[in-house]
């Protein structure tokens, strides 16, 4: 019987508090563990934080992708059940890896290209035509996601990225600009179920729809083919607790992102679904397996 769970965090948000409260309400023994205070001997399981050692299942909820990813690697090495798994975190933390898997499985997604230098990226955009969307391979909240409308934009973007000196910026993840309504779809998948979904409307002063950028939300009920596409996208990255983002087009939904550290404050508010409790129920079922 799974009755103890720990929540790994590095910055306690609304979501982690909601998960903690939901776990306690379900009668589980729950703890919040700040990964920032951990140092672990990777050959000695006893050096794991006691709360983690005693847990049947661990919910990894770090806001830092790399911290969460590597902590998960360590825990899985010790045979621990972590949600999301290392593979799911690796896939969802990298837009290119996600896209490769979506394309491989025939899941509708915007046409995506990759260039491996500043010069080849600009040359490719010139050849392809504008507008194009350029995204960092690692990153979230719409940060550094850029719509490139002409050669001047392309040159400016390349110059900025060069100055940031992040090695991942040598890799250019380029996407066709999809003409869609001024909203996109966010579906929260927990295990094999779409537990809540919302339309996210772009704010008046931005083309991006991220709630972190000020977009507003409206509940939506996903059915039939759309629901199937969302579930397939979640499965493609290894499954778990995920936020699948898709755009509506004349030919149906296009999945453009799958988020592994899904923030669900907005969707909880918009839909009235207790997403935190759904996640804890899922965690309990995973631990029992």
């Amino acid at each position: 019987m799974a009755n103890s769970l720990s929540i790994l965090t590095d910055r306690l948000r609304w979501e982690e508090k909601a998960l903690y409260t939901a776990a306690l309400n379900m009668g589980l023994s729950a703890s919040i563990v700040d990964v920032k205070s951990s140092s672990i001997d990777i050959s000695d399981e006893s050096t794991l934080p006691a709360e983690v050692r005693d847990s049947d299942v661990v919910l990894q909820r770090c806001v830092s992708h790399y911290r969460g990813l590597y902590y998960t690697a360590v825990l899985e090495r010790f045979g621990r059940r972590v949600i999301n798994s290392f593979m799911t975190s690796l896939m969802t933390g990298n837009k290119l890896l996600t896209s490769l898997e979506l394309v491989k499985r025939g899941i509708p997604t915007p046409r995506t290209y990759v260039s491996f230098s500043d010069e080849s990226a600009v040359e490719f955009m010139e050849r392809h035509g504008y507008p194009m969307v350029v995204k960092p391979v690692v990153g979230s909240w719409g940060r550094m996601v850029t719509r490139v409308d002409d050669r001047d934009d392309a040159n400016t973007l390349v110059e900025f990225r060069r100055m940031l000196q992040d090695p991942t910026y040598q890799v250019y993840y380029l996407q066709e600009y999809v003409r869609r309504p001024p909203r996109d779809l966010r579906a929260v998948v927990v295990g094999d179920d779409v537990v809540a979904a919302e339309y996210r409307y772009q704010p008046p002063d931005d083309w991006r729809t991220n709630i972190a950028r000020g977009g507003r939300a409206e509940p939506v009920s996903l059915k039939g083919h759309d629901r199937e596409i969302v579930l397939k996208a979640a499965e493609a990255v290894g499954g778990g607790v995920l936020g699948v983002d898709a755009m509506e087009t004349e030919d149906g939904l296009l999945v453009h992102e799958v988020n592994g550290g899904v923030e669900f404050h907005g969707v909880t508010h918009a839909t009235g679904v207790d997403v935190a409790t759904k996640i804890i129920e899922y965690a309990r079922s995973v631990a029992k397996r």
């Binding site: 306690l12 508090k17 920032k36 806001v63 830092s64 992708h65 979230s140 909240w141 940060r143």
Partner: protein, 61 residues
């Protein structure tokens, strides 16, 4: 009753909820500086804060 802690940056008064959990983020109402809650002792009316980490490139969903 919120516990008042003085902001190290501007001297403003930060109200820390007495049920705040360690790791939670509070911010100064005057200058916006963010702090992470280290501990809260409602009985003694004391809360310990430390400067919160700044947003990094890999932060997000």
């Amino acid at each position: 009753m919120p516990i008042k802690v003085q902001c190290q940056e501007c001297g403003g008064m930060i109200a820390v909820p007495d049920d705040a959990l360690p790791g939670e983020i509070v911010s100064c109402p005057d200058c916006g500086t963010e702090y992470e809650v280290v501990s809260v002792d409602p009985k003694a009316g004391r809360a310990e804060l430390k400067p919160a980490e700044e947003v990094k490139e890999d932060w997000g969903e």
